[in-house]
Symmetry: C2
Subunit: 243 residues, 2 copies
């Protein structure tokens, strides 16, 4: 089972984003979608979308504390995003699944990225931690682990930002075996981690660079893109249209 | 058969956009995807994507004349987009399909919008021209035909821009029966149409406001959003990654 963890928050494009993601997941066999709303309560918008999706899902919510919330004028890198929500999903996994009995991988799947369904086929090969390129991130057409030609193992990273990080990999560029997630119960995301180091610090709980499993045809194929959707100008709300 | 006509042009997000659209269409039974590249020749990127999609498709190309091409600094409304490509698709339909024998509807499906698969179920009900709301367009959360409560027919439009147009409907908000497309061979898009009047003038060949068929639960549901993807900053290209 692939446990796909999606933090999400209200804005005008939210329903469109979640519609795209849910339709992508409909093409994936054996997926369990864990949607964590950044809000004090579960909204009808997300509840209806999940009910109508025909997917196996879990609907959670966890509000980002106000002091960590991104302000409209703040640059995007200024604050961690999705920390609270991903941790809530980790807690749910650890409370509801059993090490040794439940099998699968955990993937952090933001609501605005673009996912080729092939990336989920790759995940089914993962024994510990699998990695692959991510398109359109950090000022490059793609970031990617760099492989040693002889051993086929990861020896470094091509990344537009701090390729010297222990794991210079975007959230969309790895998935972790459920056994590891359930064993290392201390592994969580944290506001104390340096900005841009969430992925690297989280992965450090589970693996080393040498142990990473390069996927997507030896990291030569791009199956996921770090796309972002323009914030639309909305000056008026038409009443009577269903959320 | 739903003939979905998609104009597309090269930019860094193109493959991501077409991946999303092709995966949406994989959930639609009986669709024929007509992809028209805005280029002098067919590219490997699009060719490979189509070959790997498992969809029934037709791959065409037609370059927008340079004088009509949107400049980077131009505001988006300044030029018509997709005119050449949609006309090339119309020409293909009229040359390759037979009135009376081939049945279906024609839908103009831009590569960057978001489509709920339910919009395609609605299209199967169309006898002449079907219409429905479109989310996130013209400064509103959604544009929509306004129905007469008694007759259930279209009596006007809620639209952020010129609701007084004969048909104040976005390209994503209608589909046309193939019989009509094949009968009115003079109906094409044109650079001579006033900016923002392409849809309205094109629809005028086929129908009247009174004849429109309102779909999506009497135009109360939003199944398509006029989303746009941010142009990513790309300063570097990593070699050796597959297009
Ligand atoms: O206040 C916020 C901002 C973002 N997110 C979610 O966190 C993930 C990452 O956010 P975003 O895509 O904005 O980050 P970036 O594109 O900058 O990596 C997405 O699934 C968002 O829906 C959230 O739950 N609350
Ligand atoms: O130079 C161009 C610009 C746009 N398009 C295509 O025409 C359609 C409409 O363009 P766009 O989405 O940019 O328009 P808007 O969002 O402003 O309606 C899309 O399918 C684009 O891929 C194109 O073929 N050539
Ligand atoms: Mn994002
Ligand atoms: Mn568009």
């Amino acid at each position: 089972v692939i446990y796909a963890v999606t933090p999400t928050y209200w804005r005008h494009v939210q329903k469109a984003e979640l519609t795209r993601i849910s339709q992508t997941l409909q093409l994936v066999p054996n997926v369990h979608w864990i949607v964590v709303e950044d809000s004090d309560y579960k909204t009808d918008l997300v509840r209806n979308l999940l009910t109508e999706s025909d997917l196996i899902y879990t609907h959670l919510n966890a509000k980002t504390p106000p002091f960590e919330k991104l302000k409209d004028k703040d640059p995007r890198w200024k604050r961690h995003r999705g920390v609270e929500q991903r941790n809530t999903a980790l807690k749910w996994l650890r409370e509801n699944l059993k090490l040794g009995k439940d099998k699968g991988v955990v993937y952090f799947m933001d609501d605005d990225n673009t996912y080729n369904v092939r990336v989920f086929q790759e995940m089914n090969k993962i024994k510990t931690v699998g990695v692959w390129p991510v398109g359109l991130v950090g000022g490059l057409n793609a970031e990617t682990p760099v492989l040693d030609k002889k051993t086929g193992k990861v020896m470094g990273y091509r990344s537009g930002w701090r390729p010297d990080r222990p794991f210079a990999i975007d959230m969309a560029g790895f998935a972790i075996n459920l056994d590891l997630i359930l064993s290392r119960t201390d592994a969580v995301f944290s506001y104390k981690m340096e900005k841009g180091y969430q992925e690297s610090e989280f992965l450090s709980y589970f693996t080393t660079k040498e142990q990473l499993e390069p996927l997507a045809d030896n990291c030569t194929k791009v199956y996921v893109w770090h796309t972002r959707t323009e914030k639309p100008v909305v000056n008026g709300i038409v009443p009577g249209l269903e959320v």
